[in-house]
């Protein structure tokens, strides 16, 4: 790895972002924080798509994928938030680990 800008630089950023997202999903109690973590993961995937598209001189496919991912991220966020709101109405909490009535 050289210090000069290359594909791997972007991939590293993406990897770190991905891991941070996973970390958030794993550790944060607040459901909304978990959702933020998921957004980070989606962003990291998008960085990959675009970086590959750029450096691989592959095609515009990467960017197209990124667009759709952004759209879906929005949908998912909306639906997830609606569900979180419903949870809040039912349980009066948004702590994910408090919602564990269904278990073995």
């Amino acid at each position: 790895m050289t210090i000069h800008l290359s594909l791997v630089h972007f991939l590293f950023v993406s990897a770190v972002l991905f891991s941070l997202g996973v970390y958030a999903v794993l550790t944060r109690r607040n459901a909304i924080m978990v959702l933020m973590g998921i957004e980070l993961i989606l962003n990291s995937a998008n960085i990959n798509f675009i970086a590959f598209g750029h450096y691989g001189a592959l095609s515009i496919d990467g960017q197209m994928a990124a667009i759709f991912v952004i759209i879906l991220a929005a949908c998912e966020a909306a639906v997830a938030l609606a569900i979180v709101l419903n949870i809040f109405q039912q349980f009066n909490t948004v702590n994910v680990d408090d919602v564990d009535a269904l278990r073995d």
């Binding site: 991912v69 997830a80 979180v84 919602v99």
Partner: protein
């Protein structure tokens, strides 16, 4: 280009019909007071869809710039999905859970149609992006449907877990797709296959991307260790949705995985293997991962199911185990195995939906899904108990029921591919599965009812639906020729032999 697009549009009639049904349902929900009309519209829509699917039999095409394949394989699974959808609508007509949420019933059917739409795209998708999109469409609809009875805490919890788990899994899958894209420069499965066949991809990254992608598929088909959402969501969701998830969404997930594996990773240039088996591309080690997953899935599903007291949850674990059996068909990496999995799906469709239907009817009457509620069912409602017994026998895989035929073909494929020890694990698992199915038998027939011993009566509609599920479960066990032929004819995917 326009020419191609116009031509392509001609081949998405079922999907178009579905979207049309979706819109009609929404409009009808606003217009009509009687919600049964919505159900009627949806049923009619599904019938039309089924008609268009029939129309697609024999077509073998790729449309929308290789986004979607309309091939016998997809058509087969579309049949499975649309049959399941119709049956679920019938279920919904007598489900207390659904009927009690009158105000949202329009949305319920709309989402059901949307989910079906998603699954129709899933079974045909031959582009990774398209796969991701259709998976999300299905998932988003199912998150919402799982939480449909939102006043019920269980249902709300189920939807929360489902959405978090699902979003993360699809995130993983997306990341995996991005890596595969980076390696092959394409999202199109055919191009990916071409690149991989030439051996032009980093092995390690491919493996990692593959594993991440499989995490996404695994989540959809409830394969261990990506299954964790399944018991909780199945238990919390309304029983109609549980049944739907366990059959249709699993079928779509399998179809997608099967296409992903065969179109993307089969090296069809290798001709030394016996007919029907194919080699994988160089450096692809996911077969072994899949074997491990299959073994883990059936074993864990069966072992944990032994401990369940909630029948719905028990069936959830049972459906995990069944996913494991069906994965056995995949790991054969051959047309035999694929056909076996496909046959199994039709069989599974009837027997599993049947079991869930009985659970629903019992819950409707007794208000309980607990195994205790089944005590004395044999005397309270012999028809229901016998039907349940037959469904469970079929799920165990004993002749002369359809379940036996399903298992027979799976194990036959394994034996033929000389994966004999895997077959032994498989059959031993079906022995284990007997344990928990037998617990239900036992409560139904060997125990006396603890509470009320009143006979349970059901309306004609319920009995008809029950028979619709029961007859194929038995008939396919004795006469399975047409099904097998259909499945074998349908193994063909576009672009691969």
């Amino acid at each position: 280009m326009l020419q191609l697009i116009l031509q392509s549009i001609g081949y998405i009639r079922p999907e178009t019909a579905l979207v049309f049904t979706l819109l009609s349902a929404i409009v009808a929900d606003l217009v009509f007071k009687r919600k049964a009309i919505v159900a009627g519209i949806v049923l009619g829509g599904f019938a039309a869809v089924a008609y268009y699917v029939v129309d697609e039999i024999g077509v073998n095409l790729s449309i929308f710039s290789n986004m979607l394949a309309v091939d016998p394989f997809a058509v087969y699974f579309k049949f499975v999905v649309v049959t399941a959808s119709i049956i679920i609508v019938l279920f919904s007509l007598s489900s207390n859970e659904v009927l009690s949420s009158t105000r949202r019933i329009g949305e319920y059917y709309a989402l059901l149609v949307a989910m079906t739409t998603g699954m129709f795209f899933m079974v045909g998708a031959s582009n990774l992006l398209m796969m991701y999109l259709s998976l999300e469409l299905t998932s988003i609809s199912s998150y919402l449907l799982a939480g449909f009875t939102k006043e019920a805490p269980d249902s709300a919890e189920a939807s929360l877990k489902y959405v978090i788990y699902g979003a993360l899994s699809s995130g993983f899958m997306l990341y995996g797709i991005s890596i595969i894209y980076g390696l092959t420069g394409s999202l199109d499965l055919y191009s990916i296959n071409q690149v991989l066949t030439q051996g032009g991809a980093g092995r390690l990254a491919l493996l990692f991307g593959g594993v991440l992608a499989i995490a996404g598929f695994g989540y959809k088909i409830s394969a261990v260790p990506f299954h964790f959402w399944t018991p909780d969501v199945y238990e919390g969701a309304p029983v109609t949705i549980t049944a739907f998830l366990s059959v249709a969404s699993k079928a779509a997930g399998f179809a997608m995985l099967m296409r992903f594996l065969k179109v993307g990773f089969a090296d069809l240039t290798v001709a030394t293997l016996p007919a029907g088996l194919w080699a994988t591309v160089k450096g692809f080690e996911l077969t072994n991962v899949l074997i491990i997953i299959a073994v883990l899935t059936m074993t864990l599903g069966n072992l944990v199911a032994i401990w369940q007291d909630n029948v719905k949850r028990l069936l959830a674990y049972s459906s995990i185990a069944h996913a494991g059996y069906m994965l056995l068909g995949l790991v054969v990496l051959g047309n035999d195995g694929y056909a076996a999995t496909m046959i199994y799906f039709v069989v599974y469709l009837f027997m599993n939906l049947g079991a869930f239907y009985v659970v629903m009817l019992v819950a409707n009457k007794t208000g309980s899904e607990d195994i205790q509620a089944y005590k004395g069912l044999g005397s309270r409602s012999p028809l229901l108990a016998v039907a349940m017994a037959i469904f469970l026998v079929s799920l165990t895989g004993l002749p002369p029921t359809a379940g036996f035929i399903g298992k027979l073909y799976l194990f036959a494929a394994l034996i033929r591919a000389k994966l004999i020890w895997l077959a032994i694990v498989g059959v031993l698992n079906s022995v284990i599965s007997l344990y928990y199915y037998v617990r239900i038998f036992r409560n139904m027939f060997l125990r006396d009812s603890e509470g009320s011993a009143e006979p349970l009566t059901f309306d004609a509609m319920s009995i008809v639906v029950l028979l619709v599920l029961l007859v194929p479960t038995l008939a396919l066990g004795l006469y399975f020729g047409p099904l097998v032929t259909f499945a074998q004819n349908s193994v063909a995917m576009f672009g691969v032999r």
